[in-house]
Amino acid sequence: MNKKTLILISIALFAGNLFGSIFDTYGIGRVGINYSVASAGRGYTSALYNDNKTVNFQNPASLAMTEYAGFNLGINSHFNDIDPFGSTESLVGFSYGIIKFPFTKKGGCSIGLVPIASANSTYNIESSDIGYSEQILNNGKIYSANINIGYKILPFLDVGLGYEFLTGGYNFVKDVSFVDESMVSAKLTSDLGIDGRQLSTGVILSLKDKLSFGISYSYIFDINQQIINTYSAKGNYYSLKDTTFSNDKIFPNKLDIGITYNISKKYRLNLEFLTYGFNNIDKVNPVYESGGINNYSHFGFGLEKNGENSIFDSFFEKMIFRTGCFYNNNYYHNSSDEAVVSKGITFGIGIPYNKLKSRIDLSFVWERNSGTIYEEQNIDAVNIDENVYRIQISFLTTEKWFNTKGKYR
């Protein structure tokens, strides 16, 4: 009975702006999203490097470079082109918000709200031989509300520490309906609420004037979930609510390593490797039985040309230009342990204004996701290629709060 022949997979565009990646239906959706717009423009690299205005979400040690207080607000927009179904509508929304400020000459801290996982997708699976279809929906986010501190303890060594409150929730729905209308459709709705705590730590080691090395690690030390599963039948004649509390680890620890090479005063090269230890999590929202999970890994490469810092330079010379590329092995794998792969190229610009105090950053990302979306025994796996076009914008202002730098001491 479970033997299915898959004849069609269709995207169901729901009225709830469910326009994320089609691969978001798995687990907690997309991870590796806590990058600033500036980082996204240079191939999602930020483990080590940070300029003195933007906030590095991956490594709290970089806050030691903070010179000015300020806001940083990010907005995300994207649309997807999924072969063979065409384009989805664009999704525009808040991405992150950070306040940062320096303390003494050697330290800085930040308070902010940053997404660390996001799912926003639905699709149908139609099976021919027993005449039923499954609709799967996964919609939710995990945010990190964080306090981070960075400090330069030695001229060549910055250290950082972050304490993060993880909060969020997911709505996961499986709806089984039948071609034969006399048969009763079945639905599972899982509402998951998450409350967790995470510690992050990082160091930046300046090996030479031109070469620096950074590493950060985030550890989930407490996570609580409330899961409300509702099993229901068509027409609501039957509904069973099953509420459970769990401490299962559903979000993994993270390791981030990066290097920066200053080619010259203006040009900077970044390399980054980031991994989430999904092998060690306790469970993940399921989609198909034969799938599995493995560690997430991200490789990023970025190049940045700094703008001039003098108001006497031309506007073009004051702009920052960024480019990069990335390659991700996502954590959801098929039965052959083949990961869904994401790769892409990025571009970014930084446009200063307000006498170089403030800046607008823009990033443009083309991303291609490829992998298995569904499979069953005795049938060929259904593989999907998806192009994602992202445009992100952030607004960054600098102020002189707390920036005494010893003036009143």
Binding site: M1, Y132, V176, K208, K210, D242, L271, T275, N295
Partner: protein, 407 residues
């Protein structure tokens, strides 16, 4: 300068190699015992072994809201009824200047059915219910019990009548003094009882009752009156029609069935009850699975069954629950079941999908008995009987199982 550049490039190369090494260490073989799972849609088939127990539950037939008043004997059922006309006060005086004198009184019944094709006439005894018996018998919610009181202790013979059954309606002449007494002394008007004169005769008729939807067909008291002035000077004749105000149908059955068969019957009402406790004992079944389809199949024992060759019946298959079905304390659910139609004397098998009923059976655990019941339609006003072969019971399930994590 060039040497420093290449040294730095070498450092970068070393770090890349280190990174790749860390990645390979972190990756483990594909294995996740607790993680992915999904949806399974599967089938299960059960035969009569899934039946835990059966009972043919009788239903009280007597009622104070029957739409037909039946009197007589038919297929092991004895029927009697009572009737009351309470709206007589207006006849005391129709005006200050006119006086009403009742000359003749008839009760008019509209004939619903002559069950034994009697064709000519049927003899009925009519008793007046004594005024000292329970006055509000007509509102009783326990008709069998109240009937016993008013029939055995408090009846007074009015007359014996031979009712003409040749037309659509029939008249029963009533002594006008009884009517005058009812008008003069309303407490004495406690209704009448109608029963067959020959209690064992194999004949039965039914009339449209007070509760019938067409008010023009309900029993009527026809009063032919003379209208005179206050000096007793004749003015004119007039006929008054008083409609019945309440009734009570009493039915007693000596039809009994054992629990070796499943019997759905009309008249002497039986509903077969089937418990399926074994369903809940199957590992793959629990309250979190959703029943998509549940087809119950049963064969009809045509030799034992008795279905009129012109009758077409419907069966309702639904959910029941009880904490004491031996005491007939049974709750029938008429919302979740389904109806199967066009059952005739030629039907040998019934098949019906009742997913909601099976879902409820699986999910409900706080009753001593719960399961399936079968009800034949029009069970109070017809007399067919269907015997099902218990051993042919078959249940085909299609269900969706949402496999949970960590299970």
């Amino acid at each position: 300068m060039t040497g420093t550049f290449f040294k730095s490039i070498f450092d970068v190369f070393l770090l890349v190699v280190l990174t790749i090494f860390i990645v390979q260490c972190a990756k483990t073989p594909f294995e996740n015992e607790n993680g992915f799972s999904g949806v399974s849609v599967d089938t299960l088939e059960f035969n009569s072994n899934v039946i835990d127990s059966v009972k043919n539950a009788s239903v009280v037939v007597s009622s104070n809201n029957a739409i037909y008043n039946m009197v007589g004997n038919y297929k092991n059922i004895q029927n009697k009824f009572s009737l009351e006309f309470l709206s007589l006060n207006s006849l005391e005086s129709i005006s200050d200047t006119e006086k009403v004198t009742i000359k003749n009184a008839d009760i008019k019944f509209y004939l619903h059915k002559d069950w034994n094709n009697i064709d000519n006439a049927v003899n009925l005894d009519v008793r007046q219910i004594a005024p000292d018996s329970i006055y509000w018998w007509n509102n009783s919610s326990v008709p069998d019990s109240i009937w016993s009181s008013i029939y055995n202790n408090s009846t007074e013979m009015i007359s014996n009548y031979s009712l003409d059954l040749s037309g659509d309606s029939t008249l029963m002449d009533i002594d006008v003094n009884i009517i005058k007494d009812w008008i003069a002394n309303p407490d004495s008007n406690n209704g009448m009882i109608f029963e067959l004169s020959e209690s064992n005769a194999d004949e039965m008729i039914s009339f449209y009752s007070y509760d019938y939807s067409d008010a023009s067909l309900i029993p009527q008291l026809i009063l032919e009156c003379e209208i005179s002035d206050t000096n007793d000077v004749y003015l004119f004749d007039s006929t008054f029609t008083i409609y019945s105000t309440c009734d009570l149908q009493y039915s007693e059955s000596d039809f009994e069935v054992g629990d070796d068969s499943l019997v759905a019957s009309q008249g002497a009402i039986y509903r077969p009850l089937i418990t399926l406790d074994s369903l809940r004992k199957i590992d793959s079944i629990d309250e979190r699975m959703i029943i998509n389809s549940a087809v119950v199949t049963l064969t009809i024992d045509q030799l034992k069954s008795s279905i009129g060759n012109e009758d077409t019946l419907s069966l309702y298959v639904g959910y029941f629950q009880s904490n004491s079905w031996d005491d007939e304390d049974i709750q029938y659910d008429f919302a979740t079941g389904k109806t199967i139609e066009n059952i005739t004397d030629l039907t040998d098998t019934i098949s019906i999908s009742i997913p909601y009923v099976i879902q409820k059976i699986i999910a409900t655990t706080d009753y001593q008995q719960n399961g399936i019941f079968i009800q034949v339609d029009n069970e109070r006003y017809d007399f067919n009987r269907i015997y099902f072969n218990k051993n042919t019971f078959n249940l085909n399930l299609v269900y969706t199982n949402f496999i949970r994590e960590n299970e």
